[in-house]
């Protein structure tokens, strides 16, 4: 190959790359300015786990130990005792070692009463690793702060401004498609 041809080849190669890059000049930016602009987290996303309480402030959790058994990473510790009045159990301790949690949401999947749920609260970096060992008070606090959460039994739920808990509209629900399509046909 002559020198001229080589030079032409190089110019063509560079021109081709520049053209491909220049095609994108007019595109809108995708960068989110993180500390000031938070990402949109879908309700089903597993960023943190929380314990949800009923509207009257009582625990949803019935201490059935299903989540403790389902956890692959074995980070949930539940202590319970027999309810002296009536049947069932009373929750004494609910510890979630969030350091070793693998965010699989198996616990959420098996919970029969939707007490443990996934929330989109992801900012939990700490200086001391032991601060990530969550106890029940901590998980309750996360649950009280949560505005929207997901559990397979009840689907996506929303906390209204007055504190009442309500099921989210089908546009936000996994499997809401069936309802939406049925609605269209009916209309």
């Amino acid at each position: 190959m002559s020198l001229l041809a080589e030079v032409w080849e190089a110019v063509r190669a560079i021109g081709q790359g520049m053209a491909a890059v220049n095609r994108r000049v007019g595109e809108s930016a995708v960068t989110e300015f993180y500390p000031y602009q938070k990402p949109e987290i879908p309700p089903v996303s597993v960023q943190f786990l929380a314990l949800i309480q009923n509207e009257d402030g009582s625990d949803r959790c019935v201490s059935c130990l299903a989540c403790e058994r389902a956890c692959p990473s074995q980070v949930i510790t539940i202590e319970r005792k027999r309810n002296p009045a009536g049947k069932g159990f009373v929750l004494e301790r609910f510890d979630l070692d969030f350091v070793n949690c693998m965010h699989c949401a198996n616990c959420v999947e098996v919970c029969p009463v939707s007490a443990i749920v996934t929330v989109g609260d992801f900012e939990h970096a700490v200086y001391d690793v032991n601060m990530l060992k969550a106890d029940k008070a901590f998980l309750d606090e996360i649950g009280r702060r949560a505005q929207v959460w997901y559990s397979p039994k009840f689907g996506v739920e929303i906390r209204k401004p007055d504190g009442s808990i309500e099921k989210a509209p089908p546009e936000m629900q996994p499997g809401g498609l069936a309802e939406l399509l049925a609605g269209e046909e009916g209309a």
Partner: protein, 374 residues
């Protein structure tokens, strides 16, 4: 026990030994290669692995079957969801679980979305090794869109733990099919850019054509799979050879190229991305929009027997050998990982190549170390 590939202190004046890795930006993880150099030529190459050995197989013996799915995710973490399938298929075979049609198609859509995401990561990081930064920024931007779609339904970006015995874990988000179709239209417009920047670029071709040639017989004998095998002229694709899920009902081609060099391996992956787009389009069309997403599974899983199943993940033939002894925990699980077999080719490919080409060859093998070391 001293073998021919074991590295010895060099006794030749004209040879130099170089340690590449485990901390090296071009090894795509924690691979260590000891390379002997004579001038620019590689005289020997000895790969060392195991720097990410996480005792997957031992720890999975101590877990119940539903718990193990979350662990399999962490093997080939770049194409996370795909790893769950061989294990799930093997257990489904042993239990005789029926998977509903809709779940089969949903599995195919997710499977191919992750193939796109994985090939995008490979393209970006692979081109970083070639010295090009722009493709890296572009591909990760496109990958981000795939992960957004996945997160909306599956609940996590990379390792979602979404497939389960008998189907998938939850129904899709109402916008899912529209989102995926939108993304495919968007991505189809992006592909010509990647062709212009990478595959059709004379600069890239000058470094890739004729480099790291892998003959067909060697590729088969070494058990290479995936794009590495297909770039050497063998049309072996598990999706065609032992079809699973909804793949029998979907029409697609297996891109094959005869040369077996770095360029061919890049070419095959590019064509695979195009095929993936076709597959997802067909799957969206054929998926029943409403219906069950999960079949009936026994509540307490007691698995007995032994079964080996394989799927074609982004890197090739991923298999799971599940041995159950009738309890709710497996007796032994062995994961056959494609990168593990592909990395055996390092001495074959590197010896005789130039040192600068070694980087190109490594990036064309596209190993992921979570799965090599397990």
């Amino acid at each position: 026990m001293r073998g021919p590939t074991q590295i010895l202190p060099t006794d030749r004046a004209d040879e130099m030994l170089i340690n590449m890795g485990p901390q090296h930006p071009a090894t795509h993880g924690v691979l260590k290669v000891v390379i002997g150099l004579e001038g620019e030529r590689v005289t020997r190459a000895v790969p060392h692995i195991g720097f990410l050995h996480r005792n997957h197989e031992k720890i999975e013996e101590a877990r119940t079957y539903p718990q193990i799915i979350t662990y399999t995710d962490r093997m080939d973490y770049v194409s996370g969801l795909q790893n769950e399938l061989p294990f799930i298929l093997a257990v489904e075979d042993l239990l005789g679980v029926e998977v509903p049609d809709r779940a089969k198609y949903l599995r195919v859509i997710f499977f191919e979305l992750y193939r796109l995401a994985s090939h995008l990561v490979w393209l970006g990081t692979g081109m970083l090794d070639f010295g090009a930064i722009t493709p890296f920024l572009y591909t990760f931007r496109d990958r981000e869109r795939i992960l957004e779609i996945v997160e909306k339904t599956a609940g996590a970006r990379m390792l979602p733990n979404y497939f389960t015995f008998g189907g998938v874990r939850r129904d899709v988000h109402p916008d899912f099919f529209k989102d995926v179709a939108d993304f495919l239209d968007f991505f189809e417009k992006r592909l010509p850019d990647y062709y212009a920047l990478v595959l059709d670029s004379p600069v890239f071709q000058a470094r890739a054509v004729g480099v790291g040639v892998l003959p067909k017989e060697r590729a088969i004998a070494r058990g290479a799979s995936g794009p590495v095998l297909r770039a050497s002229g063998v049309a072996y694709d598990v999706r065609k050879a032992e079809p699973y899920d909804a793949y029998p009902e979907i029409e697609f081609e297996v891109p094959v190229r005869e040369e077996g060099d770095v360029y061919a391996r890049f070419w095959v992956r590019f064509k695979e991305m195009e095929e993936s787009i076709k597959i997802i389009r067909q799957a969206i069309e054929k998926t029943p929009k409403v219906g069950p997403y999960k079949g009936k599974v026994p509540a307490r899983m007691k698995v007995k027997g032994s079964r080996y199943r394989a799927v074609e993940i982004s890197r090739g033939h991923l298999g799971a050998h599940v041995v159950g002894d009738g309890t709710d925990r497996p007796y032994r699980i062995k994961h056959r990982s494609p990168s593990f077999a592909n990395l055996q080719l390092i001495p074959d490919l590197l010896v005789g190549a130039r040192f600068a080409d070694a980087i190109a060859i490594l990036s064309s093998l596209d190993p992921v170390f979570g799965e090599v070391d397990r």
